[in-house]
């Protein structure tokens, strides 16, 4: 049995006293099979409880649910409690959500990334809610002396219909807390859900629209110092010497400290440290090659033609297939590096004290921040607390811990509470980008237009494996070879919303459009034929659900009235990523000689939709993100220095540039999968394929605006 950690105990006691008694149900995040436990002062004092998250039902009828996952705009803080409240038949207006702090021995998956939070938590949350309901019903049955089978619950109330008796949950909470928790509880039939599937507003709306301090950057502490850090301007440089005399003389500056390759200017306000930082005189020396985008283009070509490739998947005899082909189609696709650009720039607070470390800020991986702080300070993890704030977007950037590392270093050196702030320029030029990648596709068609061979080589800049070798069309082609080569670049990279698939889907789905055309087939029909073939005669292992993919293809085709709209140029795309299936149709209309992307139609299978409002937002946002970066996103380099450093040079999509986005969810009752990412990957190709229909020009490189073919497109 684990003991409670400090933070949870504190949280728990605070809520316990505020509620003035009631039912406190602890449940176990780490272990899906664990039975929830009733927590009371005695069991707490004895340390004889094993729980890591909890819900409380107060005598005041207020239900509090702890949400352990970081919220970055993906809607977890609203969706999680909805799941509990559904099984509990709670009155949603009386449910409160509290963001739990880092407690890694308790929350096994306290990470935001990979669209994995909902699938991980679905069962556990339902079980917690159902257990609480069971106890309340038991308590009512005892009090009224009627059988459990005659008792019903609805919206936070318990009813005994035949006698007309009813009570609010709060009135039974104390009695429920004296009962024994069942080993098994029955979960609801999914068809009877009343809250799940509805539109529920973001639980933080009120705070957001009134400007309450919610985000990491909003965190201030009495006596806190501000730090801006000068990092090497070019990737590949390292620090040689620092002359901070002029900077130190500036008003408000407390000190300038150096660690690793960084120079931190520390002072009393953001503006003062920003001005002082400009006066630093720093010398650097070359540690690695200072790469330019022109180098990258040359390297890509070398790796595609002669790089030592790692084979990712191989089926059949590719060489023979291409030799026997009636037609071979080849095309290359390339994307640039991208910054994540969450609207809240990186920032983090650290206070390294004599007895431990306090960390506060926006992070997608609190555990990693803590681990790094432990390494720097030598404190064991249990002496380090991490408070997770709301986050102004993440898109994968806050999976890194660089900002937490910096804050810890500076606080340790200054022996003071410090907040490290990144300006937008720091954020955009500071690294961990979506890697630049280039793909070469080759397809072999036989006389009847069947795809008998398929080759894909992916080459990337610190991209690891830039392919997803088991994704469609793998499994549907008899002879297939997928391999990759990686170039180690000093430019740092990391996961970016829908890692790898954010561009791979684009390239693959655009290329399949080219192949369909060469085969003389309709793009939708072509994909359906491939899937039917994979179903009848699968080639090697298949790691996607063919039927679910077919279903979204058909739904998107139906909702877009595929191929039947006059004057509308349609493009198709479908992709499976992050456990969900999404098909999209882009619609381009030519207005005054100019092709304009007017509509996107998305068919989405993410299993059961938990929050309709939030889900719609995620899909629309993902589509807008996918289109925006495909059209405009471009980070280029000259001698290791990014050419773009703020939103004047790096263009983000704006309201006047968005298409309408029409979203349709598949209703199949399957356990929910995530939605933070899957809508993004297929968006770009649906748009590009539609532009092709309108202009007869392929857009093979991102961003579109740099493409000759796109020059007269808005």
């Amino acid at each position: 049995m684990q003991n409670l950690e400090q933070t949870s105990r504190r949280n728990f006691l605070k809520i316990a006293s505020a509620a003035g008694g009631g039912l406190f149900l602890g449940f176990n995040w780490a272990n899906a099979a664990a039975v929830p436990v009733i927590v009371n002062p005695e069991s707490l004092a004895a340390g004889a409880v094993n729980f890591n998250s909890f819900l409380t039902i107060g005598t005041d009828n207020i239900i509090t649910i702890f949400s352990p996952n970081p919220e970055i705009g993906q809607g977890i803080k609203t969706a999680f409690p909805m799941i509990v409240a559904e099984e509990l038949d709670a009155d949603w207006t009386l449910v409160k959500t509290v963001q739990a702090n880092l407690d890694s021995s308790k929350y096994e998956r306290q990470v935001t990334g990979g669209s994995g939070a909902v699938p991980h938590s679905w069962e556990r949350l339902r079980k917690a809610g159902a257990t609480a309901r069971y106890l309340l019903v038991e308590a009512a049955s005892k009090r009224w002396n009627v059988p459990v089978s005659e008792i019903t619950t609805e919206k936070g109330k318990i009813f005994h219909k035949s006698s007309g008796k009813s009570l609010a949950y709060g009135a039974l909470a104390e009695e429920a807390s004296k009962l024994t928790v069942p080993k098994e509880v029955k979960l609801k039939d999914e068809k009877s859900f009343t809250l799940i599937g509805q539109s529920v507003r973001n639980v933080d709306n009120k705070n957001i629209i009134t400007g309450k301090p919610l985000f990491g950057l909003d965190f201030y502490r009495e006596g806190m110092l501000f730090a801006l850090i000068q990092r090497p301007k070019a990737f590949g440089l390292k620090l040689k010497s620092v002359d901070a005399e002029a900077a130190k003389k500036m008003p408000g500056i407390v000190n300038v400290v150096t660690f690793e390759n960084s120079v931190a200017v520390v002072g009393k306000s953001t503006w003062q440290v920003k001005k002082a930082r400009e006066l630093l005189k720093i010398e650097y020396e070359k540690e690695f090659d200072l790469e330019s985008s022109t180098d990258h283009n040359r390297i890509f070509k070398q790796l595609l033609d002669g790089g030592e490739a790692t084979v990712r998947r191989k089926n059949g005899d590719v060489d023979a297939a291409f030799k026997n082909a009636a037609k071979v189609i080849t095309a290359e696709y390339q994307c640039p590096f991208l910054p994540h650009s969450p609207l809240e720039p990186m920032n983090f607070f650290a206070h390294v004290r004599e007895d431990g470390v306090e960390l506060v800020g926006p992070t997608q991986t609190p555990d990693r921040a803590r681990g790094e702080a432990a390494k720097i300070t030598g404190f064991p993890p249990e002496k380090i607390t991490v408070e997770i704030t709301r986050q102004g977007g993440g898109f994968g950037r806050r999976l890194a811990a660089d900002f937490a590392i910096e804050a810890t270093h500076v606080s340790k050196l200054m022996k003071a509470p410090v907040k490290v702030i990144w300006t937008r320029e720091d954020d955009m030029t500071g690294g961990t980008y979506r890697p630049a990648v280039r793909y070469r596709f080759e397809a072999a068609l036989d006389k009847s237009g069947q795809m008998i061979g398929y080759k894909l080589r992916g080459v990337g800049m610190n991209a690891g494996n830039p392919t997803r070798e088991d994704n469609f069309p793998s499994g549907a082609v008899d002879n297939l070879l997928i391999d990759s080569v990686d170039h180690k670049s000093p430019i740092t990279t990391g996961p970016w919303r829908a890692p790898i698939t954010n561009f791979l889907a684009y390239a693959e789905q655009s290329f399949l459009d080219e192949v369909a055309e060469a085969a003389g087939k309709d793009p939708v029909q072509f994909r359906l034929e491939l899937l039917e073939k994979a179903k009848k005669a699968p080639v090697g292992e298949i790691k996607y659900d063919i039927d679910r993919m077919i279903a979204v293809i058909k739904l998107a085709a139906e909702k877009s009235n595929w191929g039947k709209k006059k004057g509308v140029h349609q493009g198709f795309s479908v992709y499976f990523s992050h456990r969900s299936y999404v098909a999209q149709v882009g619609e381009v209309i030519v207005e005054k000689g100019k092709p304009v992307l007017k509509n996107m139609i998305a068919a989405v299978d993410c299993g059961i939709v938990i929050n309709k409002s939030g889900s719609l937002q995620q899909v629309r946002g993902g589509v807008v993100d996918g289109i925006g970066h495909a059209m405009y996103g471009n980070l280029t380099f000259k001698d290791g220095v990014p050419d773009q450093s703020n939103f004047n040079g790096f263009r983000l999509i704006r309201m006047n540039e968005i298409p309408e986005v029409d979203v349709h969810f598949v209703d199949n009752g399957i356990s929910p999968t995530g939605l933070g990412e899957p809508a993004l990957p297929p968006a770009g190709a649906a748009a590009a394929n539609a532009f092709y229909r309108a202009t007869k020009k392929r857009l093979r490189n991102q961003p579109f605006i740099e493409e000759e073919a796109f020059k007269n497109i808005s």
Binding site: R201, I208, T270, P342, L652, M655
Partner: protein, 153 residues
């Protein structure tokens, strides 16, 4: 450093800052009004939008010394109970994802609707295109401005 008097949200504030400090950082670092956000610092994103004598301005590029006797309104002072028609529309239509850009969006929309209570769709898009939303909530921002317009007298 200079001692400056500022009129913000119908209150007087006094603060000792360098005169070239952007209003944004005075609000945030000196006065504890953190509803106004920092996104770019170069007037590109609109996250820092406040009202100066009723006009939407970008506080990240406005030196505090230029505010003078002007009346500043921030998101905290847009309404007493968070019930300005624009705020209400933002809640009802459930606009926010991460929420970071939304104070700036709301301030831009509120100033716009005050001047132009019955805007056309094209005018809404034109005005709101000045504000970035990295989460891509543009469809609902547009809808919320429209809804607020229909409810403002």
């Amino acid at each position: 450093m200079a001692l400056l008097k500022l009129q913000i949200n119908n209150r007087s504030y006094e603060t000792d800052v360098e005169e070239d400090t952007p209003l944004l950082w005075v609000l945030r670092d000196n006065l504890g009004l953190v509803g106004t956000k920092f996104g770019c610092g170069i007037a590109q994103c609109g996250a820092c939008t406040v009202h100066l004598d009723g006009e939407a301005v970008r506080s990240c590029t406005l030196p505090v010394s230029a505010v003078g006797k002007g009346k500043v309104t921030t998101i905290e002072g847009l309404s007493e109970k968070g019930d300005h028609p624009v705020q209400k529309a933002w809640d009802e239509i459930d606009v926010a994802q991460c929420g970071y850009c939304q104070a700036g969006q709301i301030m831009t929309a509120a100033a716009f609707l005050k001047k132009n209570p019955k805007p056309t769709d094209a005018q809404i898009v034109e005005t709101m295109s000045g504000n970035l939303c990295r989460c891509g909530t543009y469809h609902r921002i547009r809808e919320a401005v429209k809804s607020a317009a229909s409810k403002t007298k």
